[in-house]
C-alpha cells in the first residue's frame, strides 16, 4: 500500500472530462490527476464510465469535452497512435496481439517506423527479448502468440506496452484473466514501475488488489467522480459503498444441505484431445442442486473437463452418467438436448453482440418459444422481461443490441440464455470474469437460487474468493489429475492454493 503520497507536478491531469453517447452520459465532468510515482486506482461498477475514461486517455475517443494535460501541457490525442507517441501506454482488457504473428513481430507492430523501412529481425528480436526479460518472462521472442495461454498473452501485451518510453501507463483490469501467482508478479511489477516515476492509472474490480497497489483511489459512479482519496484513508466498506452507492451487504449465509440424489457420475474419466490440456482418472459425483467449484491453474485440465462435459466428447474414455443414463455429448446441441448448458468464459463466445438482448436470451430455448417453426415473439417477451429485471440486467430495452450493454450485463444475458433452456446440469467457465463487484454479487445470488431449485452447477473459477463464497464443494485439479476435494468448511485460500499447486490439501 502506498503510505506516502508522491509530490511533484502531476504527470497526467483530467479536467472536467465529459462524454455523451447517443442516450447515456458516460462521463460527467470527471477531474483528477496522476502524479509520477503514483498508482492511481480508478474503481467503478460496470457502466460507471471507466472504459470511456480509459478510451479518452488512450486517444480512442476524441469527441469529448474538457481537457487532458500531460506534464502540465494540454494535449488532445487524435488517435491511439498519438497517445502512445506522447508516452501514454494503454493496456486494454481485450488483448490486441495478432495471434498468427510471433511475439517479436507483435512488438514491431507498435514501433513507429515507416511502412517501407527495411526490417531488422535480429534487432526486433533482441528488443522483444529485453522487454520480456524486464518482466521476468521466460518466453522466446520467436514463439507464435497463438500458442500462448491467455495469461501469457496478457503479460506479453504488458511487456510490449512498456517497451517504449512510457510516462503514463493505463491498465484496464489487467489481472482479470490471471491466476494468483501471475497476479502477484504483475502487481509487483506495477509497484516497481511507479517507483521508476511512471504515473500509473489502474482500473480494477478486485478489492484486495486495489488496496495492495493503490496510492490514491478515485471512485466513479454513473459517470461522475464520487471521491478521490489517498488509499490509506479509505476503508473497505467505504470503497464498496462508494462503488455501489449504498452500504455494503453482509456476507452470504453458509448453506447446509441434506444428502441428495446423484445427477452426474464420472468414473475413470479421461481425455487426450491433441488441442487441449489432457486429464485422466477422474472420479466424482455431483448431486442434484449441488454447486460445485472446479479449481486448477492453467494447464491443470479444469477447462478441458468443462468443455468435454459440454459436448466435445471425442478422445475421451471412461464412464459418465447423467441421472443414471450414459452421457456422452458429441456437440453443444446434443448437450442441450440432454439438459446440459455451458456458459463460456470468453464473452466473445457467449454473447452475440449484433443480436438483441431478447434474441440472445432465447437463442438456446427457441424451440420452447415457437410453434411449427414460427417464433412467438409475445411469449418470448413475456418470459424474458420479468427474468431480466429479476437479474437486474441494465439495458436500454430488450430490443437493444447486446453490444450496447456493459460487460457484466452481457454476462447476465448469457446466463439468462442458459437458464431459459432449463438445464439439469449448468456448466460455467469462470462466470464472473471481468465483471464488477455488484454484478458479481447478483450473479452469485442467482446461481445459489438456481442450485436451490434443483439444477446442478459445476463452475470453474480463477478467483479463490469466489470458489470459497459459492461452492458446496471444490474439486481441485492439478496436472490433469483430481488431487483434492475441499468441502465447504475447509475452503480457505491457503488450502486451495496448495492443492492447486499439486500439494496435499
Amino acid at each position: 500500500m502506498g503510505e506516502r503520497l508522491p509530490h511533484g507536478e502531476p504527470r497526467l491531469e483530467l479536467v472536467e472530462l465529459s462524454k455523451t453517447f447517443a442516450e447515456t452520459r458516460a462521463l460527467d465532468r470527471v477531474s483528477f490527476d496522476v502524479r509520477p510515482g503514483e498508482v492511481h486506482v480508478v474503481a467503478g461498477e460496470n457502466g460507471a464510465g471507466k472504459s470511456t475514461l480509459i478510451r479518452v486517455i488512450a486517444g480512442a475517443v476524441t469527441d469529448y469535452t474538457g481537457e487532458l494535460r500531460l506534464d502540465g501541457r494540454a494535449v488532445r490525442f487524435a488517435n491511439p497512435a498519438a497517445a502512445s507517441a506522447h508516452g501514454v501506454a494503454t493496456i486494454h482488457q481485450e488483448l490486441s496481439l495478432v495471434p498468427a504473428l510471433s511475439i517479436a513481430d507483435n512488438f514491431e507492430l507498435t514501433r513507429a517506423a515507416s511502412p517501407f523501412a527495411p526490417r531488422d529481425r535480429r534487432r526486433a528480436s533482441a528488443a522483444a527479448a529485453a522487454a520480456l526479460a524486464r518482466l521476468e518472462l521466460a518466453l522466446e521472442p520467436a514463439v507464435l502468440v497463438e500458442t500462448l495461454s491467455v495469461a501469457e498473452r496478457q503479460l506479453v501485451e504488458i511487456a510490449r506496452a512498456l517497451a517504449g518510453n512510457v510516462r503514463v501507463l493505463v491498465m484496464d483490469e489487467p489481472t482479470s484473466a490471471l491466476f494468483e501467482r501471475d497476479v502477484d508478479r504483475l502487481l509487483s511489477l506495477v509497484e516497481r514501475l511507479a517507483r521508476d516515476g511512471i504515473g500509473v492509472v489502474y482500473v480494477s474490480h478486485r478489492l484486495e488488489e486495489i488496496f495492495r497497489v493503490a496510492t490514491r483511489i478515485s471512485v466513479l459512479r454513473d459517470g461522475r467522480r464520487v471521491f478521490t482519496r489517498p488509499a490509506g484513508e479509505v476503508t473497505r466498506d467505504e470503497l464498496v459503498s462508494g462503488l455501489v452507492g449504498k452500504a455494503a451487504s453482509s456476507p452470504p449465509v453458509p448453506r447446509v444441505r441434506a444428502p441428495r440424489a446423484v445427477r452426474l457420475r464420472v468414473r475413470g474419466f479421461g481425455c487426450d484431445t491433441p488441442s487441449r490440456v489432457p486429464f485422466d482418472g477422474l472420479e466424482f459425483e455431483l448431486g442434484v442442486g449441488e454447486l460445485v467449484g472446479v479449481a486448477g491453474v492453467d494447464g491443470s485440465g479444469a477447462s478441458t473437463l468443462l468443455h468435454v462435459l459440454f459436448g466435445a466428447a471425442r478422445h475421451t474414455h471412461g464412464e459418465v452418467t447423467l441421472d443414471g443414463e450414459p452421457y456422452s455429448a458429441s456437440g453443444p446441441r446434443a448437450a442441450f438436448a440432454r439438459g446440459v448448458a455451458l456458459l463460456a468464459s470468453d464473452r466473445h463466445e457467449s454473447v452475440l453482440g449484433e443480436l438483441s438482448v431478447l434474441a440472445n436470451a432465447t437463442l438456446s430455448s427457441l424451440g420452447a418459444f415457437s410453434r411449427a417453426g414460427v417464433v412467438d415473439r409475445a411469449a418470448e417477451r413475456a418470459a424474458v422481461a420479468p427474468a431480466s429485471s429479476r437479474m437486474r440486467v441494465k439495458a436500454p430495452s430488450l430490443d437493444a443490441a447486446a453490444f450496447a450493454l456493459s460487460g457484466g450485463n452481457q454476462q447476465k444475458v448469457a446466463l439468462l440464455r442458459c437458464l431459459l433452456s432449463k438445464p439439469r446440469l449448468l456448466v460455467l467457465d469462470d462466470p464472473t470474469r471481468g465483471i464488477d463487484v455488484a454484478a458479481r454479487a447478483d450473479v452469485h445470488e442467482l446461481l445459489r437460487e438456481v442450485a436451490a431449485s434443483g439444477t446442478t452447477i459445476l463452475f470453474r473459477s480463477t478467483d479463490l474468493a469466489e470458489l470459497a463464497a459459492l461452492s458446496d464443494r471444490v474439486l481441485v485439479l492439478a496436472r490433469g489429475r483430481h488431487t483434492a476435494t475441499l468441502a465447504r468448511g475447509e475452503l480457505d485460500d491457503a488450502r486451495l492454493l496448495s492443492a492447486m499447486m499439486g500439494g496435499a490439501a
Partner: protein, 319 residues
C-alpha cells in the same frame, strides 16, 4: 430512416430532371419495377446468405443454368410448365445445397465455394444447351428444325396484371421478398441465421443447429436464383447459357445499398428492396435524361460508395 435517404435523393433528382414529364408517367415506374425484378429475386436470396455471414457468387450462373433447364424441359421436351417449374427450382436448390454443405462442414470460405459453383454451373448450363440458346426453334434428334409454340407459362410470366399496370415478374419479386422476410423475421431459422452470421462460435455453443442453418441459407439462395432464371427465360423467350453474367454483383450491390452488413448478423430483406429500388431508379433517371451508358456506370459506382458511406453506422462504443 437512413436506408431511405439515397432512394429519396434519387427520386427527388428524378422529379427535378423529370425528362420532360416522362418521370411522372406510371409506365416509367412500371418499367423500373420490371427491370429490377430478376435482380431483386436474386438479392432476396442473397440477403439471407449475407445475413448468415457468407456470400453467394454463384447466383448469376445458377440463374443461367435454371433458364436453360427450364427451356430445355418445356421447349425441347414439351414438358408442361407446372411440371417443369418445380423441377427447375429443385435444380437451384441442389446447387445451393452443394455450396451450403461445403461451407458448413469442411468450413470452406463461402467466397471460394460459391466462386467454384459459379464456374461449375455456367459450364453445366453450356453443356446442357450445347452452347446454344434453347429457343422455340428447336432441332429434333433426327436433325430437322421445327418451331414450337411458346408455352403458356412463358407468356404468363412475361405478362402484366391489374389492368396492365404491374408486370408479373414484379409480383414474383415482391413475393420472394415477402417469403424471405417471413423467414428472417418470423421463423426460428431466421433467428438462427442472424445468430450464425453474428457470431458463429457463440451460436454453436448456444445449441444453434449451425450446419443446418448454413445449408438452409444457400439452398434458399439457390431456389431464388432458379426462380429468377425461370423469369429470365420467360422474358427472353429462350434459355440462354450466357445470360445473367455479373448479376451476382448487382444482387450484392442491392443488398449492401440497403444497409445489410457484409460481416453478417445484421440487416434485412426490407432493406434490400429499398436497395433494389434505389439502383433501379438511379439507372432509369439517368437513362431517361439521356446520360450515356458509360457515364451511367461511372455514376452508379460513385453513388454506391457514397450511399454506403452515408449509411455506415457510428456509435458502436459503449460506456
Amino acid at each position: 430512416m437512413r436506408p431511405f435517404v439515397p432512394l429519396v435523393a434519387v427520386l427527388v433528382f428524378g422529379c427535378v430532371l423529370n425528362a420532360n414529364g416522362a418521370f411522372f408517367e406510371w409506365q416509367t415506374h412500371r418499367a423500373v419495377l420490371r427491370e429490377i425484378s430478376v435482380g431483386g429475386i436474386l438479392a432476396s436470396g442473397m440477403t439471407v446468405v449475407i445475413v448468415s455471414g457468407g456470400i453467394d457468387l454463384a447466383v448469376g450462373s445458377v440463374l443461367a443454368l435454371s433458364a436453360v433447364s427450364f427451356a430445355w424441359l418445356t421447349l425441347l421436351h414439351g414438358l408442361p410448365g407446372f411440371f417443369a417449374l418445380p423441377l427447375v427450382l429443385l435444380v437451384g436448390a441442389a446447387a445451393g445445397a452443394l455450396s451450403g454443405v461445403l461451407v458448413a462442414w469442411p468450413r470452406m470460405q463461402p467466397f471460394i465455394v460459391t466462386l467454384a459453383m459459379m464456374v461449375f454451373a455456367r459450364g453445366l448450363a453450356k453443356e446442357l444447351s450445347g452452347g446454344q440458346k434453347i429457343s422455340t426453334y428447336v432441332q429434333d434428334p433426327s436433325g430437322a428444325f421445327r418451331s414450337v409454340p411458346l408455352p403458356a407459362v412463358f407468356e404468363a410470366l412475361d405478362g402484366r396484371v391489374l389492368g396492365g399496370n404491374v408486370s408479373v415478374v414484379t409480383l414474383v419479386f415482391l413475393g420472394s421478398a415477402f417469403v424471405t422476410w417471413v423467414i428472417l423475421e418470423r421463423l426460428r431459422v431466421g433467428r438462427y441465421l442472424f445468430a450464425v452470421g453474428g457470431n458463429f462460435e457463440a451460436a454453436r455453443l448456444s445449441g444453434v443447429p449451425v450446419h443446418f442453418t448454413l445449408i438452409f441459407a444457400y439452398v434458399l439462395s439457390g431456389i431464388c436464383a432458379a426462380l429468377a432464371g425461370i423469369c429470365q427465360a420467360a422474358q427472353e423467350t429462350h434459355g440462354d447459357p450466357e445470360t445473367g453474367l455479373g448479376y451476382e454483383l448487382d444482387a450484392i450491390a442491392m443488398v449492401v445499398l440497403g444497409g445489410t452488413s457484409l460481416m453478417g448478423g445484421r440487416g434485412g430483406v426490407a432493406l434490400t428492396v429499398i436497395g433494389a429500388l434505389t439502383l433501379g431508379y438511379l439507372e432509369k433517371v439517368l437513362s431517361l435524361n439521356a446520360y450515356s451508358s458509360e457515364l451511367r456506370l461511372m455514376l452508379t459506382g460513385v453513388i454506391l460508395v457514397l450511399a454506403v458511406l452515408f449509411q455506415r453506422r457510428f456509435g458502436r462504443e459503449s460506456a
